[in-house]
Amino acid sequence: MKGGNTTMAKSMEQLMELIEKMPDEAAKPGEFILPELMAIQIAHTVRNDDIVFAGTGLPMVGIMTANFINAPNALLIYESGICDGKTMHVPMSVCDQRAANMSSTLGGLVDTFGYYLQNGYVTLGFLGGAAIDKYGGVNVTSIGDYYNPGHRFTGSGGNSDIGTMAHRVAYIILQEKRRFIERNDYTTTPGWWCWDFKTNEWKPKKEVWKGTAYANSGPVAVVTNMGNYAFDEKGEIYLKSFHPGVTVEQIKENCGFNLNVSRVEGETKKPTYKELFVLREFVDPELIFLPQKVEYPASIQKLING
């Protein structure tokens, strides 16, 4: 048996006490890395009374972080059939037994997509995407001609279901000019504007989905490596905050359409030492999703050493 993680030589009780002692003040630039900042932005999207349906990867890390900090009662659904898993070790997949730990019930996809999602219980969906349009429509299928793609991605998975039937939907996407675009080559998950294939018109989602229970459900937030985004009354994306070290000009340069920056509130709130401590020691201490462990500043390390 490999010995325990040296940073985790402390008992659960000691670590819990340490969380209490960790300052709520914002960490300084250089004391955290971008994936940590992004995971914590995801966490802040979660409310304590949310029923969250999240995809694998950073969304899962983010909602686990939320479950450990700001939203301990948020109920997490994982698509393979897990209802309210209470994870100790970060799962690598939504079907990982780690995600099923201490869950309320275990079922299958008919439970999660039918009983929970289609039936209207899911309040927040958190998903990834390969490309996004200005109305929050997401492509995880293909670039170029669908039948002869320049690049083929994995395909919908649960993206299109969760992204349209959860009340609020948030995405995490790598921001590049070719990924933030006016119109997707292939829309896997429609945003606030989409095609009506019956009439062949590009229309507001509210009209296409009129009469269904989900007409007002859709994207509310996007987190990228450069900033946080929200959607206006017309369903158009706008910049809400820019991450530390990134300028609004750089963000505009990495956007394939004329981005609305008139409502920007300022710099993204930096993660606190407490949030970083929980993320590093409890959520992903195995460094599965986080690329590296950043050293704590001396004052924090002194607290940890006791």
């Binding site: 070790h89 079907c95 998975g157 009469g211």
Partner: protein, 351 residues
């Protein structure tokens, strides 16, 4: 249409080789159990399928998995009706063999979504011809232009397992709830299901998530169960609520310990992330892949020899602990797993 049966099936206990010979053939339409590359993939059966040289399979499934990875590596899939063509998430999200073959026009790919696939399997399981679903209107998944099987001329009704349409969008007729989508039932020829325990009559049980394994078992015409353990049927009857598959749908039972490796069987063993990362790595170079297939697929004389080749150390590290159902000894990331007694969320929410 639903197959009316006049008598119960009698499940046969078979070896892996016998079951694969009896139920797999070129062009078969097959669904595999589990979820992504991580949970209860009947990998041994896919492995044997490739060894027997079966080709032109029509895989209808929720997901890419270790099984579809191997079948694609061997070029055994002709039609792939799925919704996620990755296979191992963190191990290698995109199946590069699949992408390679698809771009060369060697296979047909029909896209659905998880929810749609689950509903299609449910319809198949309950003998319904189709099922309404609030599938994402405005998604190109339901763009009439994008119907790969239709484009290939395979929706002409000649193949009884391929529906004549990918979907139908219609006005919801009972409640006036806008537009809805009808999805055709899934009716595979064969479901291959890896479980923890199976009674010698066929009653089967898994622990952990169920994905759509019960649904595909009922939707399929034939069902092969691979089990970590085959136990006396009477043992399975002591906790019937823990069982998911009744014996009367099962055609064959194969006892196949470690048969889901490198995916996991909760409470038996964990998934082998490093092994899956290696599979992904070698698939990016055809020479490396050939060597790997020769070593791991065509080399061993039997599945038992494959497992023995893995070595006792690896199996020890993967062995699940009886409390959590997974292993904390396996190196999944860059650091070992910490010992934890309780999830922090439970400690913080107070129950």
């Amino acid at each position: 249409m639903p197959r009316l049966r006049t008598q119960t099936k009698k499940a046969q206990i078979m070896s892996l080789e016998e079951a694969c010979k009896a139920f797999m053939h070129d062009g078969a339409m097959v669904a595999w159990s589990g979820f992504t590359g991580f949970n209860r993939n009947p990998f041994a059966f896919a492995w044997q399928t490739v060894r027997q040289g079966v080709k032109d399979l029509h895989v209808i499934d929720r997901h890419g998995s270790c099984c579809t990875w191997l079948l694609n590596a061997a070029g055994a899939i002709k039609i792939y009706e799925t919704n996620w063509m990755g296979w191992g998430e963190m191990a290698g999200k995109l199946d590069v063999n699949l992408e390679r073959r698809y771009k060369k026009g060697e296979m047909i790919l029909e896209d659905y979504s998880h929810g749609a696939t689950a509903m299609r399997a449910l319809a198949g399981a309950i003998g319904a011809p189709f099922i309404p679903y609030n599938a994402p209107l405005g998604s190109d998944l339901y763009n009439p232009k994008y119907d790969a099987l239709g484009k290939a001329g395979l929706r002409d009704g000649k193949n009884p397992r391929i529906p004549k349409k990918k979907f139908i969008q219609m006005e919801e007729p009972f409640w006036g709830e806008g537009e809805t989508v009808l999805l055709p039932a899934m009716r595979p020829e064969l479901a291959v299901i890896h479980v923890a325990q199976c009674g010698d009559k066929g009653t089967a049980r898994w622990r952990g998530v169920g994905t759509i394994d019960k649904e595909i078992s009922f939707a399929a015409e034939k069902v092969v169960i691979l089990a970590e353990e085959v136990v006396p049927e009477s043992e399975m009857r002591k906790l019937p609520e823990g069982n998911q598959i009744p014996y009367f749908v099962v055609d064959a039972i194969v006892e196949c310990p470690w048969g889901a490796f490198p995916s996991s069987v909760p409470f038996y063993y964990d998934y082998d992330a490093p092994f899956m990362r290696e599979m992904d790595k070698i698939s990016r170079n055809l020479d490396d892949q050939k060597k790997w297939l020769d070593e791991w697929v065509y080399g061993p004389k039997s599945w038992e020899e494959f497992i023995v080749k893995l070595g006792a150390k690896r199996l020890l590290d993967l062995k699940a602990d009886s409390v959590t159902g997974y292993s904390t000894r396996m190196m999944r990331g860059k650091k070992p797993a910490p010992r934890m007694k309780m999830p922090l969320s439970v400690a913080m929410s107070g129950y």
